[in-house]
Symmetry: C3
Amino acid sequence: VSGATVHPTAIVDPRAVLEEGVTIGPLTVVHGEARIGARSRIGSHCVIGEGDRERTVIGAGAVIRSHSVIYAGSTFGRDLETGHHAVLRECLDVGRGLRVGTASDLQGSSSIGHFVRIHSNVFVAKRTTIEDFVWIFPKVMIADDPHPPSDACTHGPTIRRAAVIGAAATVLARLDIGRASLVAAAALVTADVPEEAVVRGMPARVTGSTRDVRCRHGALVRPYPWWEQFDRGYPPEVMRTSSGPVYEEDGE
Amino acid sequence: VSGATVHPTAIVDPRAVLEEGVTIGPLTVVHGEARIGARSRIGSHCVIGEGDRERTVIGAGAVIRSHSVIYAGSTFGRDLETGHHAVLRECLDVGRGLRVGTASDLQGSSSIGHFVRIHSNVFVAKRTTIEDFVWIFPKVMIADDPHPPSDACTHGPTIRRAAVIGAAATVLARLDIGRASLVAAAALVTADVPEEAVVRGMPARVTGSTRDVRCRHGALVRPYPWWEQFDRGYPPEVMRTSSGPVYEEDGE
Amino acid sequence: VSGATVHPTAIVDPRAVLEEGVTIGPLTVVHGEARIGARSRIGSHCVIGEGDRERTVIGAGAVIRSHSVIYAGSTFGRDLETGHHAVLRECLDVGRGLRVGTASDLQGSSSIGHFVRIHSNVFVAKRTTIEDFVWIFPKVMIADDPHPPSDACTHGPTIRRAAVIGAAATVLARLDIGRASLVAAAALVTADVPEEAVVRGMPARVTGSTRDVRCRHGALVRPYPWWEQFDRGYPPEVMRTSSGPVYEEDGE
């Protein structure tokens, strides 16, 4: 615990490992299963290492905002960032640079790539696969049960690299959401989505290619592929390719 | 308070009644109006007995996860379980075995039967009736006002025994959702739903009987009636009947 | 800090200004940038003045319920009221009498008028304008990006005086929602809404005037204009006019 700054009202299990430069805010509880990477900042009123499973590993440079709950048994790459009241359950295998917004609820047992951006109040069911550079906007529902309630067939969808799920959309269980596709706001996705397709409505139908989307408002004529006009804090080692950004983690 | 384990940082009103084997987690506040049943486990950062109304009664064996808020003036049967950040308001009359997921918000003044399962981020408006063995999946909205804002006509719907409300569906005020019916994901329910009917879309229409639903994925051919292929921790005294599970509480 | 009642477990920066009669609940953190108006009551487990920006100003008579987070750099008129787990971000300019429900998330940089009522679990994107006497019901999504992800064109909508946004509706970026209009529950609003219009569906279409809405349930025959049959705690200085309630703040 040497080199960490722990607020006197925080409750940190002596078995927890806090690397150099970690700060733990007031009234936060850190259980013994947690290992928190260098320079991470944990806000107030959080719970880190909830549950009694194996170790939680939070990579270096994390920013965890107040009232968030991170379970034991998940592994996060560096630069994790959460909003307030986020809940990240067990058995998540997460790459670098995940951002999860306020009040989002990741149910666990999912695989999440690098630089995934999940906004506020998103629900991600168990056993969902989210590839690198995916964007999920507020209030999205990712489901895992094709005929609830059941156990036999539950499995979350697979959301491919650089796909975009618009606000308040619902994506049903077991689907494949294609690379760089766009699900429009409030759409109900009931079938697989092809690469670079735009889908809209309830149930969602393919209405064209993202490359044909035009902006009515001005600054951008062609908003897609989004990575040609936009990034949000990607480091220089992210490469742009015609099929989307690519990140290869070094051996650190 | 004898026989209870209270974390030294918890703040428990001396008038609160904690039965044998209760545990109260760190940084939790228990107000004087609360009575917490035997062996219940209250997590960290919770508030139990919020408000200044009459007594809260939480039955034996409850599991209340961190950051949840339970108001005074509600009564819960045994085996209540909540996720994190759940809010359960006043004047709820709840049977045995309710589970309420993370960030769900029960507005109060509702009647909830036995073994009801409410997943994450569900909103239940006031004066809703939820019968035994109902399932409500994440992000469901249960409304109470037919022409908002108003007071004169507000009343929540009635959701009949063993009905299933799919994820992100919206159920409008004052409706009757029939026994063992199925509301599909993201549907907007604007009319009563017959027994065992499946409804889908916006506005939702009856598209068939649950008994005609087939599974495309394999393990289960006929997923409904759901109670013929599935339970989730029901105790042996729950009886299966052709119209759904039945539970008669003994006189305890 | 004289004249305030601070729970001994609260953590209040000595630079914070607490006016006469303020109460601060247990386990709440108040940062130095906060100024809290007379007679305000802050519940337990809150964070006031989060972030390191300029001053937060909360007007007199506020009621902030447990686990809420209010950022530095926002200004609230008197009689602010929040539910539990609400998050109010920076650079909000808010009039008198705002009510924000449980788990709602105001992203900041927005202008909110007087007597706005935002229910539970509402998301309001940045740079949204909400005029006086607007009602926003639970689970509404207010978006700001016409082609996500982007920066160039993001801007929240403008919701005009006395408009009503029904539960679980989605309002897209940059739209103009007309005075006293009504967005039906679960509608997806993709175009401007005229004054006093009713819009429904996905995408939402104008289906008539609010003045033609009839109640099927009884007590009220004509529910709209809502201000002719309803108020919720407006003070006597609110004037009713044929175009809706009007409030002129005095020079206090």
